[in-house]
């Protein structure tokens, strides 16, 4: 007989928090005479989720490996430009443009990964540097939007099934694939291991650089997907669309809000999606209620800090107690939480 221990997973907490935010949001929205659950409003929320969702899924992988990716906003911008300029408004260029965009992004991710795992440069600094390089390139080569996207490609960002945008469906589909990747591949398993404790991983015979490089490549490719989606929505490529979205810090915030440990080794894709959804619902509710934009950031900030404080409080592990804290002379041992079978 095995007894399964009840464990209040961080992902479960995020889910509850999301439900709470939705309920509170729905009530608040109804006080101004609007319906939170209307098709239009749900479409707005889901649309708000998809771009950040792509970026945050990738960011989750990188953070699981105890690295970070600050280059994502510039990869997003660059990708929108490569896609729009390669397509030149022509339908027959779509496939080739998408492939080229993803390849360039993968190369950037490879560079990030090699700098972090090979040269042992801290992920924060490495990706900040790579991000600045891309930023500099964008600033010198582009004065404004460029290229154009054909109508067929714009449909991706504009159409939906009922209230559910196609882009959200793609994003959630990707989340499923990445969650399966983490669960069903050795590289996925080893991301947790390397992020959790590189020394243990090395002693267990792992090549500790490999999961880190893979995570960075996947993260950049996800950022490129976000760039493609933005190009589809805008109809053009933009050198500033990524940095205006603040996808670097917002994606990290969504990942952490989703219960993934910033130090690596623990976390989940579904937590991240929950974090992204919480942000999207908060934004939506505050927009509908016409809250002052400054207050919006205040609320976001409070949510992030509160979430991390809650997780940290739960994570503090102490040395094992031998005696009860107050009662003197209480002999021996604390209750062992599994029965010792004989």
């Amino acid at each position: 007989m095995t007894t399964r221990r009840l464990r209040l997973d961080n992902t479960v907490i995020v889910l509850f928090a999301l439900i709470g935010v939705i309920i509170i949001g729905a009530v608040l929205v109804s006080t101004v005479g609007r319906n939170f659950f209307s098709d239009g409003n749900i479409r707005d929320i889901l649309t708000g989720m998809s771009v950040l969702g792509f970026v945050a899924i990738g960011q989750t992988l990188v953070i699981l490996c105890a690295s970070l990716d600050l280059s994502v906003p510039y990869v997003v911008s660059l990708s929108s430009l490569i896609a729009a300029e390669t397509m030149q408004g022509r339908q027959e260029n779509i496939l080739w443009a998408v492939i080229l965009t993803l390849l360039v992004a993968a190369a950037i991710g490879l560079a990030n990964g090699v700098i972090v795992a090979g040269l042992k440069v801290n992920g924060f600094i490495a990706t900040l540097g790579v991000g600045l390089i891309i930023k500099g390139y964008l600033a010198t080569e582009y004065k404004g939007t460029a290229g154009s996207v054909p109508w067929e490609f714009q449909l991706v960002g504009a159409s939906g099934l009922g209230p559910v945008p196609i882009s959200t469906i793609i994003m959630v589909g990707l989340a499923v694939l990445v969650a399966l990747f983490l669960r069903k591949t050795r590289t996925g398993h080893h991301m947790f291991a390397v992020g959790g404790n590189p020394a243990v991983s090395r002693l267990s015979g792992l090549r500790t650089w490999q999961p880190v490089v893979v995570a960075h490549v996947m993260c950049s490719v996800m950022a490129a997907l976000a760039g493609l989606l933005l190009a589809s929505r805008l109809g053009v490529g933009s050198p500033t669309v990524g940095s205006q979205g603040g996808y670097d810090l917002l994606s990290i915030a969504a990942v952490v809000l989703g219960g993934t440990l910033l130090l690596g080794g623990r976390g989940s894709i579904w937590g991240t999606i929950g974090g992204v959804a919480i942000f999207a619902v908060l934004d939506n509710v505050m927009s509908v209620m016409q809250v002052n934009p400054f207050l919006k950031d205040v609320v976001r900030g409070i949510v992030i800090v509160a979430a991390v404080a809650i997780y940290t409080g739960r994570a503090i592990e102490r040395r094992r107690a031998r005696f009860s804290k107050d009662a003197s002379g209480s002999a021996g041992t604390p209750p062992v939480d599994a029965e010792v079978a004989r």
């Binding site: 007989m1 095995t2 007894t3 399964r4 221990r5 464990r7 669960r183 069903k184 591949t185 050795r186 996925g188 398993h189 080893h190 947790f192 291991a193 959790g196 404790n197 020394a199 243990v200 991983s201 002693l203 267990s204 015979g205 792992l206 440990l261 080794g265 623990r266 592990e317 102490r318 040395r319 094992r320 107690a321 031998r322 005696f323 009860s324 804290k325 107050d326 003197s328 002379g329 209480s330 021996g332 041992t333 604390p334 062992v336 939480d337 599994a338 029965e339 010792v340 079978a341 004989r342």
Partner: protein
């Protein structure tokens, strides 16, 4: 409990050892820590390895595990000479080691930890179900049915985590499993479970190397006992031919007591400085002792006995939650290190790199660390006195601006001492004051203790080095399982102290 599986005995010829170590020596930085040691492990037998701290047990174990490379000698595993340079090679060859510091990922499941790096796959994908069921099978072979293979390791008790390490070893099909002080972190009721597991491993045909300070366990479990002293083999033979007093006699008696400096002339043990009555916390219970001005009070205890916890409780790092503490006759509550420092306490921690020094800062900044943090107004004055303190300790550095990380262990320890001397402490708690420093620096530390005692400072010295405890202390407290179990005079024999710290009635044989 599920019905006991019939454990299959591995084919083995009782005449030839599964692992034999011959003539192994090892030196670190010119200091020989193992000298021409032999060891033979037989399939299905439990082999005890005992010796005092510094006798070379851990070094020998790590050489077998592939963590260290030996300088000379030969290791033969099942008839083949082996030369492992990485622990994973030894693991794959069937030599597994359960270290005191577990090599587990607390955020991952039991099964994921057991098969880390070797996750079974089906059609290219990790077979999570298969992994869990194979882990469950391995657990069942040990008769363990209360660990869920999908449980997160961080939610398990220390004893359960240890079982996970053993299961990991079994999953490599280990022929040899060594265990380093496996009961150090266990509660009494868990020790019995570990015994059963060790016996099941032996019944399965595994050769177990059991390294422990705790002689009772060694007698309870082992068929053969090897004694090391000062890196050399003393004896190796059947456990049945030994008893506790004889074993202790073989372990102790190192010939180094000559370098303990004598008490400084004119040192007088004065009034009670620190008195602790019926105190305890989650790790300690019934702590009762008095420490006098000018006295060096030694505390001896085995690993896991609560030695460090006592130091931390007195200083306020992990404070007492019950009981009374008096300083110079006045009741005090030392709830945190800041309160401890203000009351005139100092703690020279066991781990100077992690807890004693800011490694990237200079010698002088480290020496001023406590003054600046707690007695900021005294900083200008201390800036003038600290160089004198450092030079009287003979800290050798390339100037006071050198970062302490580049100093030797002994000089680092002197900087830690300077940091505390600058505060003019009334009570100094030393936790393993000479760990990892060379003989010259050791003598310097001992002389400083004598000098402090001469000045009337009260010293509580916690140490796992018995010669040090006996060579330096006026009185000795023996600690066992979080309690002070005996008080012995400073001129006790190592034998008596070791027996007391092992939980035997003071001085008497089991």
């Amino acid at each position: 409990m599920t019905e006991q599986r019939v454990v299959e005995k591995r084919e083995h010829d009782p005449g030839t050892p599964v692992l034999s170590v011959t003539g192994v020596s090892k030196s670190f930085f010119g200091v020989r820590v193992l000298h021409d040691v032999d060891l033979e492990l037989f399939s299905g037998r439990v082999h005890g390895l005992v010796g005092e701290n510094g006798a070379g047990k851990s070094t020998l174990m790590k050489i077998i595990a592939g963590v260290y490379e030996r300088d000379t000698g030969e290791i033969v595993l099942a008839g083949e000479a082996v030369d492992h340079t990485h622990p994973i090679q030894a693991m794959r060859a069937g030599i597994a080691t359960v270290f005191q510091e577990f090599n587990l990922l607390p955020e991952r499941s039991v099964a994921e930890n057991v098969f880390l790096g070797r996750e079974p796959r089906r059609a290219g994908f990790v077979d999570n179900k298969g992994m869990a069921s194979r882990t469950a099978e391995l657990l069942a072979e040990l008769g363990i049915d209360f660990i869920d293979p999908t449980a997160r390791v961080g939610t398990l008790t220390v004893a359960e985590q240890q079982i996970v390490e053993v299961v990991k070893a079994l999953s490599f099909d280990a022929r040899v499993i060594s265990m380093d002080e496996p009961t150090a972190a266990l509660a009494d009721n868990e020790v019995e479970l570990l015994y059963e597991i060790v016996r099941k491993l032996a019944a399965r045909g595994v050769a177990v190397l059991y390294v422990s300070h705790r002689l009772k366990e060694v007698f309870d479990l082992c068929d053969t006992i090897t004694v090391l002293k000062d890196g050399a083999l003393v004896s190796s033979g059947p456990a049945a031919e030994l008893d506790t007093p004889e074993l202790v006699r073989r372990m102790v008696g190192r010939s180094i007591s000559t370098f303990f400096p004598p008490v400084v002339a004119g040192t007088a043990v004065g009034e009670t400085r620190l008195s602790v009555a019926d105190a305890g916390n989650a790790y300690l219970d019934g702590i009762d002792f008095e420490l006098r001005a000018g006295e060096i009070l030694g505390v001896a205890g085995l690993q896991g006995s609560g030695r460090t916890e006592l130091a931390e409780a007195v200083f306020g790092a992990v404070p007492f939650t019950r009981g009374r503490v008096e300083l110079d006759g006045r009741p005090v509550r030392i709830a945190n290190p800041r309160a401890g420092v203000k009351a005139g306490l100092a703690l020279v921690t066991e781990d100077r790199k992690a807890q004693g020094l800011a490694l990237g800062q200079s010698v002088v900044d480290n020496a001023l660390l406590v003054i600046r943090g707690v007695f900021a107004r005294r900083t200008p004055a201390a800036r003038r006195t600290v160089p004198g303190i450092l030079s009287s300790l003979e800290v050798s550095s390339r100037g006071l601006d050198q970062e302490v990380q580049y100093l030797s262990g002994g000089n680092q320890q002197k900087v830690v001492l300077a940091k505390w001397l600058a505060t003019g402490p009334r009570v100094v708690v030393f936790d393993e004051p000479t760990r990892g420093i060379d003989v010259g620096a050791k003598i310097a530390v001992y002389q400083l203790m004598r000098e402090l005692a001469h000045q009337g400072v009260a010293i509580l010295m916690i140490s796992s080095e018995l010669p040090e405890v006996i060579g330096m202390s006026d009185r000795i407290l023996a600690m066992h399982d979080g309690r002070l179990v005996a008080e012995l005079p400073g001129d006790s024999t190592e034998e008596a102290v070791l027996l007391a710290a092992a939980g035997h009635a003071s001085g008497a044989a089991a």
